[in-house]
């Protein structure tokens, strides 16, 4: 399903439809994430990935004009690059543990502590929020700083300068 949407994005020339397709793509991704029990992430992907980025893209398109020029004349170079990366990736994933075997290292090493003591230590049933805010709270501070940087950066770039620069 998502593969079809992605191919659509590649082929599509009119930018407006590409943006809409990107929105559809994000919503599809959100549904897949719900299927994978990633409820928090699905919600974020839906609201942030589909909502805000589509709004931003549309706002930018309004300023930038929605038509795309003819595609690149020599597409074979990127294709070759893409195929090389495919090879490396498939090679890499062969050795990975199967889809959901509980014996995989990620389930056995660090996570059990979060799951078992999470409620006792932080009193927060939603382990994801507990890990996000408390166990790895510093990551989230960095993340908020990233959002802040983007915000300040956009202000710096787009603030109208009185004299035409």
């Amino acid at each position: 399903m998502m593969a079809v949407v992605t191919v659509g994005i590649i082929v599509q020339r009119n930018l407006f439809s590409v943006v809409v397709l990107a929105g559809v793509y994000s919503f599809l991704m959100a549904t897949v994430l719900v299927g994978l029990d990633a409820v928090d992430v699905a919600m974020t992907e839906a609201s942030v990935g589909a909502g805000i980025s589509t709004v931003l893209l549309l706002a930018a398109l309004a300023l930038v004009g929605g038509e795309e020029a003819r595609p690149l004349i020599r597409p074979w170079l990127p294709l070759v690059l893409a195929l090389v990366v495919v090879g490396a990736l498939v090679y890499g994933t062969l050795g990975l543990p199967a889809f959901s075997d509980p014996s995989a290292p990620i389930h056995t090493h660090v996570v059990p502590r979060y799951l078992n003591e999470g409620l006792k230590e932080t009193g927060v049933p939603n382990i994801v929020t507990a890990v996000l805010a408390s166990y790895r709270g510093y990551d989230t501070l960095g993340e908020t700083a990233v959002v802040f940087t983007a915000g300040a950066g956009v202000i710096a770039l787009l603030r109208r300068v009185r004299r035409k620069d």
Binding site: I10, A22, M29, E45, A60, A69, L81, D139, L157
Partner: protein
Amino acid sequence: MSAGAVGGHYAYWVTVFLMVAGLYIVVARGNLVKKLIGLSIFQTSVYLLYIGPGKLIGGTAPIVAEGFRVYSNPLPHVLILTAIVVGVATLALGLALVVRIREAYGTIEEDEILDRDREPRGGE
């Protein structure tokens, strides 16, 4: 590759396809906005790489409640929340740059911009 293993690796191969599709758009297309969208597709494929293996067949969402024993792995979810936010931040900044480039050059096609640069060095 026994059927089980192939089934097990389906999630990875979807990730691989999306990753490569995103990369292809960024490299092949000249339009700056298209590049940014390709970039976000490339980033979303990483989410699958993290969260796919985190799922346990019998498990439910990692919210501790009575009656549930097996939970999916919450750690990748935390990492992906950060990755989504970083992706949107980069997108917002990229779009701001595209708007400024559009005003400075009048176009958002990479090759046209490069031609405009080869003119006599105006705008110094």
